[in-house]
């Protein structure tokens, strides 16, 4: 980012942390957490610890980080090197990103930026100006993206609640500040789980690694009667019931369904099962959930990929991230926009723009600068 744009973004972040420190949430058991932050021009700082919110806020205003992170884990020595921190437990976390949902609307609002010269292209190709191969995808989420991500959040909450027995009051949902949502689960029982167990939970909610045997179909299954005795009904609990409800509307259909499965064979059913699981499971990033030493974006801080904040969603249906998470100032500033599809922030619609210098509210200007689509002038 060139200097003038950097100054604008930094100034707007600083003003936010100075005026709106109430947005920044104090994580539970703050003194046992490791904090880290990304600097605008100087890499990552980790292994920090704050004893209270006041100390944290002073740090934010003083150093103006581009991104602020906090460990999902609780440690005895949060500031020690990783081997010496001594793990006490960790919140269970989930990351849902609309960018990973293969949505058809994506092509309307994704662009490719050359990392070498900043050229913006609407197609994925080598840079049309400098021929560099180092290009990066940038996407401006639309309402459709957010709605799709919300559906995943709801599926996830239902799996966590109905199957894993996690109480809704133990789950906190946040907009991530870019294209998705973060779920934090605060459960005493699950806190102690190590990475492999968390990977197992991630697979469970995503429906990964479901095997036909789980619904009674074996490689050598031949007899319909024998399989029916093991095959789930639509009233079953857990994944078995979930699969049955996709395969049939009524339990009377079981013999017909089992016959069809046996006729088509084990491998074909395995594929069908994977497809059902993908659709019924929640699309999460399993790496985030299984990593117990991850520092995760702190609630109430700004995401430098967009200039929007990570904010809580108390009512997921009514939640509008383009209003609730748009927290920067309104003062008008001049920017040169290389290219931008249409986007909405607060009640306003902007763009599309192409190679034009315009006057925008700070929050919209910073949004485009953070996306790499505009520069301050």
């Amino acid at each position: 980012m060139e200097e003038q744009s950097l100054n604008l973004v930094k100034q707007s972040f600083k003003e936010f942390y100075f005026k709106h420190s109430d947005y920044v949430e104090t994580p539970l058991r703050i003194e046992e957490r490791e904090f880290g932050y990304m600097q605008f021009d100087n890499g990552m700082v980790r292994h920090l610890s704050f004893k209270d919110k006041g100390e944290l806020n002073v740090h934010l205003v003083k150093y103006i980080p581009s991104d602020v992170y906090c460990s999902c884990a609780y440690y005895i020595n949060p500031t020690a090197p990783i081997q010496e921190k001594i793990f006490k437990g960790a919140d269970l976390i989930f990351d849902i990103d609309a960018d990973e949902l293969s949505l058809t609307c994506m092509k309307e609002h994704e662009v490719w930026i050359c990392n070498n010269c900043g050229n913006v292209m609407t197609l994925k190709q080598n840079c049309t100006k400098c021929e560099s191969v180092k290009i990066e995808k940038v996407s401006l989420a639309c309402d459709n993206c957010i709605d799709a991500a919300k559906k995943e959040v709801k599926k996830l909450v239902s799996l966590l609640h109905e199957d894993l027995g996690i109480q809704e009051k133990e789950i906190k949902i946040y907009f991530s500040g870019n294209h998705g949502f973060h779920l934090h689960v605060y459960s005493k029982e699950l806190e102690q789980l190590e990475a492999p167990s968390r990977a197992d939970i991630a697979d469970y909610v995503a429906g990964n690694n479901l095997i036909p045997e789980a619904v009674g179909i074996r490689r050598n299954s031949k007899s319909v009667r024998e399989v029916i005795s093991r095959f789930p009904t639509i009233d079953d609990i857990g994944w078995r019931g979930r699969i049955a409800r996709v395969l049939m509307k009524d339990n009377k259909e079981r013999p017909r369904i089992v016959k069809r499965i046996l006729k088509n064979g084990y491998s074909q059913f395995k594929e069908e099962l994977n497809r059902i699981a993908r659709e019924s499971g929640a699309h999460i990033d399993p790496k985030v959930t299984m990593d117990i030493h991850r520092v995760f974006r702190l609630q109430g801080t700004i995401n430098s990929k967009s200039g929007l904040a990570k904010v809580p969603c108390n009512n997921i249906d009514d939640f509008d991230p383009f209003t609730s998470a748009c927290v920067l100032a309104e003062d008008q500033v001049n920017v040169h926009v290389r290219y931008s599809p249409k986007f909405r922030l607060r009640e306003n619609s902007f763009g599309p723009f192409k190679e034009q210098t315009i006057r925008l509210p700070t929050y919209a200007a910073v949004y485009l600068i953070c996306k790499g689509l505009a520069t301050a002038v």
Partner: protein
């Protein structure tokens, strides 16, 4: 909560229970008595318990209470006196499998009350798992299940393939028992290590020596097959491990990916790490399987290049390394030798 007592007959099946220790005290045995001819059969029985476990089998005898409880104790003493970690581990596993066999039978066929005694006395008291009976099935809390089953390898154990509802995982009797096998093994292993060794009677010493001869012979046989020459960087990690020190993460990664690249199995690779002071079988296996792509994202990790090994400070290059760019090429083809590279363009 009132504790449901096991009967004395149960102690023959479950000689590791605290009650068995109490029973022994009542019998008032002294170790010196084992030099008497009348006790030789107990020593023989203890030896048999160990050998059966080392051969990978389950010791199925179930004779009188005295013989079973006392031979278990003597076997612990013998394994402790031998002091070979792999033997302690195998013996513990053997005893755990024996217990598993009895528990499986009992959870299938016994009365409600008897079942409650087992679920309370073994599952809850020893291993802090609440197992609840529900319509002929058993259920355990998700966290209790995951702490154990996430380290099992069969897909059948993955949470997604289980019936899970409202925070509980449903299991049949065999699965319920399998859940605690590893902990039982550790529990018995721990008992061996806590054994205090005083002056042993000659009869037991003789049997320990017999055991030692047999174990050493097996070990030499294995060593003969494992002296393949590895590149110096890999040799160095093995040396560090053999001294009982903890090599850094990058060195462990090198060792594991190298061994997998040359065709070693996950089991064989895990064995290399056994000597590390922070060795944890479950974690090591999980990590090695992760490298093979069997777990996690499915990415299969390859052995790092010599350049990367050097940048991690793990390179101990010798002349024999000249010309290779990856440790897996050690002792094989060299760059620039043999076949010429095809010309580009």
């Amino acid at each position: 909560m009132s504790k449901i007592e096991f009967g004395k007959g149960d102690l023959a099946k479950y000689p590791f229970l605290t009650e068995a220790g109490q029973y022994l005290k009542e019998l008032d045995y002294s170790l010196a008595e084992f030099d008497e001819q009348s006790k030789m059969h107990v020593i023989e029985r203890a030896y048999e318990r160990i050998i059966t476990a080392l051969d990978g089998n389950i010791y199925r005898e179930l004779d009188d209470l005295d013989t079973e409880v006392v031979s278990f104790l003597i076997a612990l003493i013998m394994v402790r006196a031998l002091g070979v970690r792999s033997v302690s581990r195998k013996y513990s596993l053997g005893e755990a499998r024996r217990t598993e066999m009895f528990l499986e039978q009992e959870l299938k066929h016994e009365s409600e009350e008897r079942m409650r005694a087992i679920l309370t006395g073994i599952f809850n008291d020893l291993f802090s798992i609440d197992v609840i009976q529900e319509n002929g099935k058993f259920k355990v809390k998700v966290a209790d299940y995951l702490k154990r089953a996430s380290y099992f390898h069969d897909n059948h154990w993955k949470l997604v393939n289980r019936t899970v509802n409202n925070g509980f995982v449903y299991l049949n009797s065999d699965e319920t028992v399998r859940l605690i096998r590893d902990e039982l093994t550790l529990y018995i292993y721990d008992k061996i290590n806590k054994m205090e060794l005083r002056q042993l009677p000659e009869a037991i010493k003789t049997k320990v020596n017999e055991l030692r001869n047999r174990v050493v012979k097996d070990a030499e046989f294995k060593r003969y097959f494992t002296t393949t020459k590895y590149p110096p960087c890999v040799e160095h990690v093995l040396q560090v491990l053999s001294k009982g020190e903890n090599p850094p993460h990058s060195a462990r990664f090198l060792l594991a990916t190298y061994m997998l690249s040359i065709g070693k199995t996950v089991d064989e690779v895990c064995n290399f790490f056994e000597a590390a002071p922070d060795y944890n079988e479950r974690v090591t296996r999980y990590q090695v399987e992760h490298l093979t792509g069997m777990r996690g994202s499915g990415t299969k990790y390859t052995c790092p290049s010599c350049e990367k090994v050097a940048s991690d400070n793990n390179c101990y290059r010798t002349e024999e390394c000249d010309g290779i760019v990856n440790p897996v090429r050690f002792g094989r083809g060299r760059v620039g030798s043999g076949r010429a590279k095809p010309e580009s363009g």
